[in-house]
Amino acid sequence: MFGSKMKQKRIRRNIFLYLFLVLFSLTTLFPLLWMVSTSLKSGDIIFEMPPRFLPDGFHGENYTRAIEEINFFVLFKNTAVITFFHLLSNVFVSAIVAYGFARFDFRWKNFWFLLMLSTIMIPGEVTMIPVFIAFSELGWSNSIKPLVIPGFFGGAPVFIFLLRQFFLAIPRELEESAVVDGANSFKIFYKIFIPLSVPALITIGIFSFQGSWNDLMGPLIYLNDTDKFTLTLGLSMFKGMMKVEWGPLMAGSILALLPVLIVFFLAQKHFVEGVKLSGIKG
């Protein structure tokens, strides 16, 4: 008797809990669902009052336009190439630099570390034009070089900071025993630090991928030819100064979002761990 009352109470509590969770999920999912719905609507009903959630039939032409008008697959390839090199530099070079800050003693170490950290505080807008001029002088404008090469000369300060903190938590004893076994510093790095830091490296990889895939300002400033553009630039073409082509814009955004979603689902476990680890939300 008492048990069935308890059971009923638990069921009632669960119903409320699940109802709350479903409602909350819907609130979060609504913009995404609206995006999918808009991508299938005809131009006429996008701004109809009162708003209509379901599309007026299946308007696949928005997807055709998104693919044809901005040369989607070329832009996809360009974005993938830039993102690959960006990710590579951010993960591996940042790890090497972080290892240096975590395990080596050199003169003014803390000063250099603080100096590096202070670069995070400088807004990109301030450095944009001088950096553009510098790369132009190198003859790098209208190429992907300014977007990928600098990362190989020091990685990214935020990631260096995160990895340094992670490396500091690795016990020195492991290193000392490796030294006894005759390992040099580089061997210790790739045999001990890298394997132990896989979750942190994957986290950085995901953030780096997301940042590079969605970057607008970098490609905008450095790339001039439309066949060198990235997806974010291509999608901006649907946002004219006078008129926004919502249908193709939403269709293109969904197509551009797919790789990010795939990466997210593949690395979901690490992503959540990464959020816990770094305190950064995507």
């Binding site: 701004f47 901005i70 944009m128 132009s136 190198l138 003859g139 000369f153 649907f238 004219g240 100064m241």
Partner: protein, 420 residues
């Protein structure tokens, strides 16, 4: 440890040497490239080889394709130049400024009227009078208001390619259902308010003004924010009358709250039948998209018949290497755009409107009259900052019903800080 230190030092030295070599190599190659391009340009004029030019545009997707087609026709027809289109699909002015600062300015750039004075003063764009004098440039063919925004200190710096005069659109069905006489060319702002009051009912509003530039009200009464010489005239008696009218309309109850109008978009509110009257660009596509009968007439007046026009111009970079040929290309390109974009800023190009946009045929006379009385701002070199002050210190207090003289004084003191 010592071995490590040596390795790091070596690596650093190697990196620095590589960067230096790369920089020098690239710099010299850039210089060589620049020099060879310059030489090529001079040679090209002699040898008959085409001069290469670049035009920066904010056009995107379909508009960009249409523009590229138009440019390729020009390129095919010209023996002197080849124009390349450079698309800047986002943060247009930021990218343009970076390119100018990096000495990579495109030869031509589309500009909105507010930027002409600023770019001219900074020396980013070139005066065109000398080059245009050598061509068959017909200054009188342009509607005066449109050409004026391309001028700075009495010199032409940019050629307008579009001028969309603001006109009064009205929902004819709403008027007819309410049995109210349709608006006409002689309407004043008081007529606008009176009729708006009759049409404001059942969750619908009589009119909208949030998309209109405030100076248009000042011009309606003979005032202005700045005169042509850059003197502040915001506190003149005529300007004050315009500001009073703006506040009167804003507080009359015939317009939706700004937050609502801004979030829904003024044009979309009119298109969806939420607003009966809308003052907007003559090229807007209401005739194609609205589900009611759309009417058009001149924008209401005060003591003066005048309207605002959204004007787009093309300017020529000061760094273009062959100004004579570039000016010719600019003139050809501008003429070609007049046959593509609605509304053309020239009298000769105006008639194309019926061919390009047959849906506007019913209103050609109104649009012509609007083009004749349309004008842009007396733009100042720091126009962007000035616009910010007008919005924050003038429009918002006026709409909140605050004292006009006080708002004007505050605005003027801010202007003085900017232009000092």
């Amino acid at each position: 440890m010592k071995r490590w230190k040596n390795s790091i030092s070596l690596l650093l030295i190697f990196t620095m040497v590589m960067m230096l070599v790369s920089a020098c190599g690239s710099k010299s190659s850039t210089e060589e490239k620049g020099a060879s391009e310059s030489a090529k340009t001079t040679d090209s004029a002699k040898t008959g080889e085409k001069v290469k030019l670049k035009v920066a545009t904010w056009a995107g997707a379909v508009e960009l394709k249409e523009f590229e087609d138009l440019i390729s026709k020009l390129n095919a027809a010209s023996s002197e130049y080849t124009i390349e289109v450079q698309s800047i699909p986002a943060d247009y002015y930021q990218k343009l400024q970076a390119m100018i600062a990096g000495k990579q300015a495109p030869d031509f750039m589309w500009l909105s009227q507010e930027y002409v004075a600023q770019y001219a003063k900074l020396g980013a764009i070139a005066p065109l009078d000398q080059e245009l004098a050598k061509l068959d440039f017909k200054k009188d063919d342009y509607f005066a208001g449109a050409l004026n925004v391309g001028m700075y200190k009495d010199e032409i710096y940019a050629l307008p390619w579009i001028s969309q005069p603001y006109v009064l659109y009205y929902n004819q069905d709403m008027f007819e259902q309410a049995g109210i006489e349709l608006p006409n060319e002689n309407w004043t702002w008081d007529n606008f308010i009176e009729t708006g009051k009759k049409l404001t009912k059942d969750g619908r509003w009589g009119g909208l003004i949030n998309n209109m530039p405030l100076p248009m009200f000042l011009w309606s009464y003979g005032g202005d924010v700045f005169d042509k010489d850059g003197n502040i005239t915001l506190n003149s008696a005529d300007s004050m009358k315009g500001l009073e009218m703006y506040q009167k309309i804003a507080k009359s109850g015939i317009t939706p709250e700004r937050a609502q109008a801004d979030s829904m978009g003024g044009a979309d509110m009119f298109k969806t039948g939420k607003v009966a009257m809308f003052v907007g660009g003559a090229g807007d596509d209401f005739e194609k998209t609205a589900k009611f009968k759309v009417g058009m007439t001149l924008a209401p007046k005060g003591t003066n018949t005048v309207t605002f026009s959204w004007i787009g111009v093309t300017a020529m970079s000061k760094t273009t290497k062959n100004p004579d040929i570039a000016a010719k290309a600019l003139q050809d390109m501008t003429k070609a755009i007049h046959g593509w974009k609605v509304v053309a800023p020239t009298k000769s190009g105006f008639d194309a409107i019926s061919t390009i946009r047959p849906d506007k045929t019913y209103a050609v006379d109104t649009i012509r009259k609007a083009s004749e009385i349309a004008r842009g701002f007396n733009n100042q070199p720091k126009q962007a900052e000035i616009d910010g002050v007008i919005w924050e210190k003038l429009i918002q207090p006026l709409e909140q019903g605050e004292d006009i003289s006080k708002a004007v004084d505050t605005t003027i003191s801010k202007f003085n800080e900017i232009i000092k």
